[in-house]
């Protein structure tokens, strides 16, 4: 192993208008090491990675890769030739192309006669190696894959070996849509990749994953690094403290008592029953029917006839925010109050003053990081966009809230705030149905339904609600 740093960044600054995203960041990545990068939503992690991968240019500062200083002409093509690969937080596959064709997009050297076959082989081998049992065909159109599968494909694509060298892979929230099993496969692969001399920068809000995968951890806050140390010197508490939060998480599984089953159920059908005031968790490996069930509940609430009967209106917090979450042309506040139009309308006109007021309050409650709620929604970082979607759902007065893995890319501090808000909403008698890929979040639920292959395998509550029970019901008994 050469001990010279592969990447060294110093004094990197970047502003977007009035907002200072990076205020002089230093970062070093050694060869054969995995650097974990943590921090709040909007701390500047993604911006820093965009600078490193050539998507945006820094206003000031020095960056060198492999000892070679980079000048103003540095761009994504140059990054690729230096062996820098990036998995961006916002999924960046072409949905209209197949998995193999998407490999070709990022690897210009795949061309000529028979390119389809070689692309197919490369990506299929990579998928098999990294995620055994992935079940994705190289000829599948990406648009027909689930969000977790798309994320898997994108990660595999970044690690694929074609002619060009591969020195550094930047993973920006790679596991946000993955279930625990798949995320563990990724961590294992990252360890073997750095053991072979490659470098990885891993951004994640799942602290356990960061601690497990990284050699070194860098904590960012407000556009600069606040702590750099070997991973072994960190633990959960210190990470959270350095990020500027106090870990108040004391709840344990089954901590919430389920005693609200006096009123008539708001959702019922098959094995599924939900009473007002409850927080219901959907667990299991991703893509095993949890999202479909949420959608069916939503459709039933809209009057569609299916096997479920839903007695009250429902709102939906989308997890796949790009596809069915944000209105990309609208401002943040418009994105929030679109669900409350009925309430905010007087006669024929929308009461914009009140709408903006409410948006301001949400900004405070959820600490949405923006100078102005009238900015375009896409000016927010990914996690902050997700907060806006939360505000949209909470603002609507529907008694049922359906959440499709809503905490994707949301930082620890905000998550705790949201948990608090969720339990307050439940107190008020709203029913919450919550699909999550993070087992820890199920601690906040009264009851949990574990899904496998589109069916509910178990209903857990009270003392039965343990991580072991959730896991054992997620897998086929024969596998486990």
């Amino acid at each position: 192993m050469r001990d010279k740093a592969l990447v060294s960044m110093s004094g990197v600054e970047k502003s977007f208008g009035a907002a200072r995203a990076l205020t002089g960041v230093d970062l070093e990545v050694a060869r054969g090491a995995c650097v974990g990068l943590v921090g709040h939503n909007g701390a500047g992690k993604s911006t820093l990675m965009n600078v490193l991968s050539g998507v945006i240019k820094a206003d000031a500062g020095h960056v060198s890769i492999g000892g070679e200083p980079l000048d103003a002409s540095y761009d994504t093509a140059r990054a690729a030739s230096l062996g820098v690969r990036t998995v961006f937080q916002e999924l960046s596959l072409c949905p209209n192309l197949t998995v193999a064709e998407n490999l070709r997009i990022s690897h210009p050297s795949i061309k000529g006669f028979g390119w389809r076959k070689s692309a197919r082989n490369v990506i299929a081998d990579q998928l098999d190696q990294m995620f055994p049992g992935h079940g994705i065909s190289a000829d599948a159109e990406v648009g027909s894959l689930s969000i977790a599968q798309r994320q898997i494909v994108e990660i595999a694509r970044a690690f694929s070996k074609v002619e060009s060298s591969i020195e550094l892979v930047i993973l920006d929230e790679p596991t946000s849509s993955l279930d625990q099993n798949t995320a563990a496969q990724l961590v294992a692969f990252v360890r073997s990749f750095v053991a072979d001399g490659g470098s990885v920068i891993l951004i994640s809000h799942l602290l356990g994953e960061i601690l497990e995968a990284s050699d070194q951890i860098v904590v960012m806050k407000d556009g600069r690094t606040v702590a750099v140390d070997a991973a072994s010197n960190f633990d959960r508490d210190r990470l959270v403290r350095d990020m500027g939060d106090v870990l108040t998480e004391t709840s344990k599984f089954g901590g919430r008592a389920s005693t609200k089953q006096n009123a008539p159920a708001v959702i019922s059908g098959g094995e599924l029953t939900v009473y007002p005031g409850e927080i219901i968790g959907f667990a299991g490996l991703s893509g095993h029917g949890q999202t479909d069930t949420l959608v069916r509940i939503f459709e039933a609430s809209q009057g569609a006839r299916n096997t479920l009967s839903v007695s009250e209106p429902a709102v939906f917090v989308a997890g796949d925010r790009q596809t069915d979450g944000v209105f990309p042309l609208w401002s943040i506040s418009q994105n929030i109050f679109v669900s409350s139009l009925e309430r905010l309308t007087k006669g024929l006109a929308i009461n914009f003053a009140q709408a903006e007021d409410e948006a301001q309050q949400w900004q405070k409650t959820l600490s949405i990081r923006t100078p102005d709620m009238k900015n375009n929604i896409l000016s927010l970082s990914g996690g902050n966009q997700q907060k806006a979607l939360f505000a949209r759902a909470l603002g609507a007065k529907a008694p049922i809230i359906l959440m499709d893995d809503p905490m994707r890319g949301v930082d620890v501090g905000t998550k705790q705030d949201v948990y608090e808000i969720l339990s307050q909403e439940a107190e008020k008698g709203r029913a919450l149905v919550w699909y999550t890929t993070e087992t820890d979040e199920l601690k906040h639920c009264d009851r949990v339904y574990v899904f496998r292959e589109g069916k509910i395998m178990a209903e857990l509550s009270g003392d039965d609600l343990t991580e072991a029970n959730i896991l054992s019901n997620s897998f086929d008994k024969e596998d486990a």
Binding site: S53, V55, D75, T76, A77, A79, A80, T86, F88, S92, L93, C94, P95, N96, L97, E101, N102, R104, I105, S106, P108, I110, K111, G112, W115, R116, E141, G143, S144
Partner: protein, 312 residues
Amino acid sequence: MQRFLTPNALRTLLPVLSLAALLGAIFYLQPRTMSYFGLNLLLNLAVPIALATIAQMFILCVNDLDLSLGAFISLTACITATWLFDTPFLGILALLACIAAYGVMGALIHLRNLPSIVVTLGMSFVWTGIAVLILPTPGGSAPDWIRTLMTLKPAFVPFPIIASVVIALVVHIGLMRSATGAVLRGAGGNPKSVERAGWSLLRVKVTMFSLAGLFGVLSGMALVGLTTSADANIALRYTLLSIAGGILGGGEFVGGRVSPIGAVIGAITLALAGSFLSFLRLNPDWQIGAQGAILILVLALRLLISARENRS
């Protein structure tokens, strides 16, 4: 079964079925069309429409819409019937300039981030204006070699069918199967990701618009080969026909989802719809409306298919 009925397969299958249904109806109404001569006559005008639809498809593929295509094809038809006939060298130069102009239009739309609908709508008046200057009154004549090509009578299979198959296959291989084609289509599906991978979106746009220009020129030439003369308004209805054909053939307005084979089939379906309605003795005034009805019918079927797919 699941494997066979992928979204892609269904998208290609539906246009084929609608064409088969229409052909069946025509053969039933007028059995004499079921012959070499009959098919030749039925499908003659499908060739320029197919070329125009392919041109529009290139534009649709990068999430744009070309409202000037009909005017542009009229212009190239006028150039073909005058300059290309009188002074072939000047004619070829002018047609090449037309293709280049399309490329520039693509560059302008990309660089200034303009809505393509506005730019092309504006340009349609420019094309028509130039066409009127070149050929103020209907007339001109078709260059012999084009005339000969368009009236070829190959053995067994009528020329329009061969031409359509060749057009569809060439574009299919170029756009759907080649490595470059994947990038071009990818730019319609997720431009940001293609740009981040180091490709120039400007080059993609210019390429696609130039290809559209090329096929527009070919369409104009084919049209003159059939009609033997031109006028400045000869192909105005091709704008909407080409959009309808592209969508009918399984394309979508956004997202880079296009199908060259489907587009050619869609164009033929629309061309046949006219004949079908004449065989029904329907007043020509109603034909445009009836073509619209066919379009709505096929699109409704497509929606049903995707709805069923979502449910399964």
